[in-house]
Every structure is written in C-alpha cells, then in structure tokens.
C-alpha cells in the first residue's frame, strides 16, 4: 500500500481482517499502557467495588441520555446531550476497566479461586454472575469493561437509582442533569488527590467535563423555572418527582469507608450540592422540593444492587445485542 492509498479504514481492516469497520468501533482497553497496579495499603476489592459504583452511575445515566437522541426539542440540544452522554460513557469505560484491573489484582493474590468466596462478600463483584469460567478470570486478570457492562445481572449493578430513572419530559431531563452533574462534580472534585493515581486521573479529567454539563443543566433549569407559567409548573413538578432520589446520593456506604484516602465520603458532598442547588433554584424562582426520600428495601438501595423497575428496561436494551451475540467483536 502506498502512502496515498492509506486510510485508517484499510489499516483497521488489515489488522482485524474485518472489512465492516466503522468509526467508533474497534475498542481497545481504555487503560492500555497505564500502570494499574493497586497502591500498597489500598484494599483492592473495595477499590474494584468503588470504581464499579462510579462507572455504573456513568454507564446507566449515559444510556438514559442516549435514549433522548432524536427526541429533543432542538438540534442544539441533541448535540449537547449527545456530547454529555459521550463524556459519561468515556468515564464509564475507564472506571469499569479500572474496576476490572483491581478485581484482577484481588484474584491474582488469592490462591484457589474457586474457594475464595470471601472475595465476593459485600462487594457483589463476582457474586452470582457465573463469569469466572472461560473469561480469563482464573488467570487473575479481572473482567473487561465489556464483560462488566454487558454480562452482569441487574442485582450486580451498583449505580444510584437516580441514574436509571426514565425522564418523562424535558424538564426532568434538565432537573436530573443538574442534580446528577452537581453531585458527581462534587464527588470527582474530591478524588483528584485520591491515593489511587488511576482513579485520581480519571476523576480530574471527568471533573472538567462535568463542569460544562452542570452549567448546561443550570441554564435550562433557570430558563424553564423563570420562564412561562407552564414551563415553571413543569420544571417544579420535575424537581418534585426527582427529589426522592436525592438522599441516596449522600448515603454512607461501607465500600467508601474501606478506602480511606482513596474514596470520598458521600455525606461530605451534601453541603456543596445544597449550595449549588439553592443558588440555581433561587435564580430560577423555583421552590426547594421537600419530597421525602424514596424508601429503601430492607435497608438496601442502588449501591447494594436493589434497584427500581426502571433499570431492567435499561439493561434489556443495553445488553441485548451483546448477549445475543456473545462472541461478536466491535
């Protein structure tokens, strides 16, 4: 092939022998070449569980945002939501890959994988997924981002319930994006000096993206809230609907507790979140919602794998192609 004939298409086709290549396919490990060894003194199983939580938040919410494509009121909002969903998908890929590597570190340490049932306890990582066979787990490598995204059951997902909610209208989209991005920005902002350098790097990059997401959402909440009587009514109704899912974001979890210096204390994010929400709601002339938190189930919620009905529908769509064609590559 001469230089003139070169296209990335030919190169990818040569490499994979697959001529159906399209832009955005041919995914490789997003952490390729990055030192993902777990720092001394860091609980690798807890680190894997923690990255899975943050990765699942981004993955599931990104999917919900993607479902808005072709349904948004203006082309500009299409590109905005597509970009935001893409940022979150990128964060999800890195976090799930990081979870898989940390999981691999746990498995490499443990002798006699089949007997090491203690590993799964509390983390939900390997519990009941039946993935250990034939996936390289036995070699101590941990699961890949694809295995984690496409081949886990609903109860093994660790996202907060806010992420899986189905927006009923554009006001809910704007309100949920404001709540989610304000909370996640506060969270990632505290992880930039995490003792796990990989998590710190993912967080530092993600925080810059979330600052744009939050600004975008705040702008729409203000425009709708301080808009017409109808837009204000709907914006207020959206926040009232979403508010029961807010408390869970700040709920203490044992995983973060097992990661001093690595993870952020969820409760510690509340003051910053409340500040931002109060400021935006005041500018939007909206009332601060007062709805009671959604009930937990026997003390469990999203972080424990106990979800609302909505997650099943997300996963059915997200996972169906991969599950129907488990040997397919993209």
């Amino acid at each position: 092939m001469t230089d003139d004939e070169f296209t990335a298409y030919h190169d990818l086709a040569d490499e994979t022998g697959d001529h159906r290549w399209a832009f955005g396919t041919g995914f490789t490990d997003p952490l390729e070449g990055i030192d993902t060894s777990v720092p001394d003194g860091v609980n690798a199983a807890a680190l894997a569980a923690y990255c899975l939580m943050l990765g699942d938040d981004a993955l599931i919410y990104s999917h919900r945002l993607q479902q808005w494509m072709t349904r948004l009121p203006e082309l500009e909002e299409e590109t905005a939501i597509a970009n935001i969903a893409l940022d979150l998908l990128g964060q999800a890929r890195m976090l799930l890959a990081r979870a898989g590597r940390a999981e691999g570190a746990v498995l490499a340490e443990s002798t006699g994988l089949a007997e090491s049932t203690g590993l799964a306890e509390g983390t939900g990582l390997a519990e009941g997924t039946g993935l250990a066979e034939g996936t390289g787990l036995a070699e101590g490598t941990g699961r890949s981002e694809d295995q984690l995204a496409f081949f886990r059951l609903e109860k093994d997902f660790r996202n907060v319930r806010l992420a899986e909610h189905a927006d009923a209208d554009f006001a809910q989209l704007a309100g949920r994006l404001l709540i989610f991005s304000t909370w996640r920005l506060a969270l990632l902002g505290r992880l930039h000096d995490s003792r796990d350098p990989v998590l710190a790097a993912i967080a530092a990059k993600g925080a810059k993206e979330l600052a744009y997401h939050r600004d975008y959402a705040a702008q729409w909440v203000i425009r709708l809230g301080d808009g017409t009587e109808l837009s204000r009514t709907r914006m207020q109704a959206a926040l009232d609907t979403l508010w029961p899912l807010v408390d869970e974001l700040f709920r203490a979890d044992t995983v973060a507790g097992d990661l001093p210096g690595v993870a952020a204390d969820p409760a510690g994010l509340r003051a910053e979140f409340d500040d931002v929400l109060s400021t935006v709601l005041a500018a939007a002339t909206l009332d601060h919602p007062g709805a009671a938190p959604m009930a937990e189930v026997a003390g469990k919620c999203g972080r424990d794998g106990v979800h609302t009905e909505a997650l099943g529908y997300v996963l059915a769509e997200l996972q169906s192609v991969a599950r129907a064609h488990p040997d397919a590559a993209w």
Partner: protein, 171 residues
C-alpha cells in the same frame, strides 16, 4: 537508537487528527511521548475528552505511518494524567484553526468553568472572555450552542458579519 526515536517522533508529530484534520497531533498537544523500548517505538497519546471516539483511529494511523517509515511493531499507549487542556494547542495549531474558520480557545485557566467553583447563572453558556470572529475579527460574538459537532467545540455567531462559526472550547 537516539536518532531513530527523533525520526519516529517527527513522523508521529505529523499525524493529523481525524476530526480536526488541519491539526497534527503535535499541534493539538495530545502527543505525550515517543520512546524506544526493546527496539520498538512506543508512542504515548492522551485523549482530549474521556469519551473521544477518535483515539482508536489516531492510534491506528500512528502505527501505520510508523510502519511505512520502517518502524515495525510500534505500540501506542494512552496516558490520562495530567489531563489534556486546550492550552496545549500550539501557536501553530491556533493559526491553523483560525485559517480553517474555527476560533481557537481562550486560555483555559481563565475561561473554563472551574471545577467546583460557583455555578454560573447565565441563560447562555458564553465563554468567559470574548471570542474573536475568525472571519472578520469582531469581538461582538455570542454563543448559540454550548456543544458542537465534536466534544471539543461550541457554536458561536458573529454579531458584525453574522457568520456562524465553531469555537474550540477552553478546557
């Protein structure tokens, strides 16, 4: 091997970005390192945004160009820290963007939304500092969309010549 690395670096620097084809990887500031390990060239790049879908294509492009130049078996690695900033776009890169009708980014330190800073209460997500129209140079420009065709761009319009244009966001 030193000379070889320098030659490989020159090739890697000249590879262009698939979404901003007027920019080389060096112009864009995403080429972090070119080294030689065990006789093979290792190129390290960093993504602009977490979800950048062009990274894979860039990696293939790099390997292909290096192979054509006689550097077989090269590898491309990703590095995410320190996070890419639009400040790393070189003066050359800024000139090329401008020539292509795309406004280059203002300094990120001054303009990007500060992570964890106060939430701006605008109705339009405007760049903090005025952006000059790449067509007529007017500073009378306004944002029309905060997100553009790629993650790194916003859409603006000039109030003087009325041309819409893309702006590489400070990031």
């Amino acid at each position: 091997m030193t000379a070889d690395v320098a030659a490989a670096r020159q090739i890697a620097e000249a590879v262009t970005d698939p979404e901003l084809p007027m920019l080389t990887l060096a112009d864009l500031g995403i080429l972090r390192d070119v080294t030689c390990e065990n006789g093979h060239i290792v190129v390290t790049i960093t993504p602009t945004y977490s979800g950048c879908p062009a990274l894979r294509e860039i990696a293939c492009d790099l390997q292909h160009r290096l192979t054509l130049a006689g550097f077989a078996g090269s590898t491309v690695r990703t590095q995410i820290a320190p996070a890419w900033t639009s400040d790393w776009i070189t003066p050359d890169g800024r000139r090329k963007l401008h020539a292509a009708g795309i406004a280059p980014p203002n300094p990120a330190a001054a303009g990007a939304p500060p992570p964890r800073g106060p939430v701006p209460l605008n109705l339009i997500m405007a760049p903090r500092d005025p952006v000059a129209c790449p067509q007529c140079g007017s500073l009378d420009t306004a944002a029309t969309a905060a997100f553009g065709a790629t993650a790194c761009k916003a859409l603006l319009r000039c109030g003087t010549c009325h041309e819409p244009f893309e702006y590489v966001k400070e990031f």
